[in-house]
């Protein structure tokens, strides 16, 4: 393992995450897998790295007052439950030898979907701006079935009155993804909060980062105890390079236009997904593999 490659990887992903305002976990884990780090370690170490990258982000949102702690806590309840179920699924898949495959398949599906949606959306935005129409995100407005669910709770900071069921449910789903894929899940949570739950855009990013810290921290500890899969040296190199890279990414990101940035990120996400898909269908050098169980270690 070459430390400079890891440093470069962390800095590059940090740069992108700063530029695009994403956590970067969904890029770190596949990159580590490409670098022949065992997927088990890549996922657990990725979760550890996301802790660091979401702390600095959510602190700045907290200072600016764009973080709803109450909403974040409700999300967190679901997130912790989801992460627990996810770890259980993770250990089960590992014992039957299908973990590497499922991680790759999930990444191909996720990166493919997210990349395609982002690309389509940014192309539409680029067309609109070419016609000199104002570029605006859809405003959360009308209510949907989500808002007719019981167990409603008032979230003062977000200025919404919402059932806790979809909030806990969303946290739960993302929690599973955190432990199985080593991602924070912000890139799914943010759109879901805006479009599905109609939560005001200004608190969405800070609140999702807030709950990601705790879910990824919890996942890291459970992965370390249950699977011994966290590589602290690898994670530390990645997070240091990542937070520094992010600072430069933010600066570059402010100078570029949003739609072009999103189109670029979409292409990158699609490329990573395509590479993983190729590895799945490419005939392996050896179809046999051997693992020691580690029971008598």
């Amino acid at each position: 393992m070459n430390i400079f490659i890891i440093l470069g990887m962390g800095a590059a992903v940090g740069f992108l995450s700063g530029m695009f305002g994403v956590g970067g976990g969904f890029l770190i884990t596949p990159l580590l897998i490409f670098y022949n780090i065992p997927p088990v370690v890549a996922v657990a170490t990725g979760a550890n790295q996301v802790v660091a990258s979401s702390v600095s982000g959510s602190l700045s949102h907290f200072r600016r007052g764009t973080l709803d702690v109450k909403l974040g806590t409700v999300l967190l309840v679901g997130g912790l439950a989801g992460a627990t179920v996810g770890i259980w699924i993770f250990a089960l898949l590992r014992s039957v030898g299908q973990l590497d495959l499922v991680i790759s398949l999930l990444y191909v599906a996720l990166l493919g979907t997210v990349g395609t949606l982002m690309l389509l959306e940014s192309i539409r935005a680029l067309r609109r701006s070419a016609k000199n129409q104002p570029v605006s995100l859809r405003r959360p407005g009308q209510h949907s079935w989500v808002h007719r669910l019981p167990l409603k709770m008032r979230f003062k900071k977000s200025k919404i009155y919402l059932s806790v069921i979809p909030v806990v449910g969303l946290g739960f789903c993302i929690g599973i993804l955190t432990s199985v894929m080593g991602v924070g899940g912000g890139f799914i949570m943010v759109p879901a909060m805006i479009y599905l739950l109609r939560i005001p855009t200004n608190v969405v990013v800070g609140t999702s980062l807030f709950q990601i810290i705790f879910v990824t921290a919890y996942t890291t500890i459970v992965q370390a105890t249950a699977n011994h899969a966290v590589d602290i040296v690898l994670a530390f190199i990645l997070m240091v390079a990542g937070v520094i890279g992010a600072q430069y990414g933010v600066r570059v990101g402010q100078k570029l236009r949003g739609e072009q940035l999103r189109a670029l990120l979409a292409l990158l996400v699609l490329a990573v997904g395509a590479r993983l898909a190729v590895d799945l269908v490419h005939t392996p050098a050896d179809i046999y593999s051997v693992v020691s169980e580690g029971v008598y270690r």
Partner: protein, 264 residues
């Protein structure tokens, strides 16, 4: 006494699958085997790139006539710590390579380094080597659990040996054992760069004219040292503290970054 030994030898040769008879106790042969290593503990640093381990030994109570005809053969194996190992084979399903069938072998050594006076296959018949369980192609690979009609055991055993050999975990050196005087010998076994941590066993076997007659084993502890191993030990032995520390480190890194790069 010698007549008895000769009789036993005859019985041993007469039973074709004499393996089962011989594997328990190599009864009253006059020959005994003694071996010694300079240490029972080896410390390995993180820049270890493999090394040779030399083992000295002697045959006691040997028959000078047989020795003169080079009828004695010695096989020395360094067996690594044992663990269950699972071999999996991928198959293509809807274009995707998926692990399908698997077989788990019970308590096989993680590493295995063999050294002998000549090519093992010429020292003793296959059935006897299988019985003693010495040699990469003869160590016991017993599957655990349901194996169906057992027709694919050979496939998985072969794959296991091939993977272990190509990975450098299993090695052999025909000619690694040399007689330095009439009955005194020196065996060189290789410690691979990826030698596993734990208790290894140096096991020497004495063959007389193709018959296994004596065995002697010594434990050898391999201890990895250095910061990498310290971290790895912590990850396994104090995993909760290790996990908590990983999280603390991440929290601190993130917090420091937000302080250092604060814009206002």
């Amino acid at each position: 006494m010698r007549a008895l030994a000769a009789l036993l030898l005859l019985i041993g040769l007469a039973v074709p699958a004499g393996a089962q008879v011989l594997e328990d106790k190599p009864v009253n042969f006059p020959e005994k085997l003694e071996i010694g290593i300079s240490t029972d503990e080896i410390a390995i640093s993180s820049d270890f790139r493999g090394a040779d381990l030399t083992i000295f030994g002697a045959i006691e109570g040997y028959d000078p006539a047989l020795l003169a005809q080079s009828k004695y053969d010695i096989v020395v194996a360094l067996e690594g710590p044992k663990d269950n190992n699972t071999v999996r084979v991928k198959e293509r399903i809807f274009g995707i390579w998926v692990n399908r069938r698997s077989m788990t072998f019970e308590l096989v050594p993680e590493s295995y380094s063999l050294s002998s006076t000549r090519d093992l296959e010429t020292i003793a018949p296959t059935a006897m080597l299988n019985g003693v369980g010495v040699g990469i192609h003869h160590i016991r690979l017993s599957p655990i659990g349901y194996v169906g009609d057992g027709s694919n055991i050979t496939e998985f055993r072969d794959a296991f040996r091939r993977l272990k050999e190509s990975g450098g975990f299993y090695q052999r050196d025909p000619g690694g054992v040399q007689f330095i005087s009439a009955s005194l010998f020196k065996a060189t076994v290789k410690l691979p760069a990826s030698v596993p941590n734990g208790t290894h066993v140096v096991r020497a076997h004495l063959f007389r004219d193709g018959v296994f007659i004596a065995e002697k084993a010594l434990p050898l502890r391999v201890m990895k040292t250095g910061i990498e191993q310290m971290i790895s030990n912590a990850a396994y032995n104090n995993s909760l503290a290790y996990g908590a520390f990983s999280v603390t480190l991440a929290l601190l890194t993130g917090w420091l970054a937000s302080v250092v790069f604060r814009k206002d």
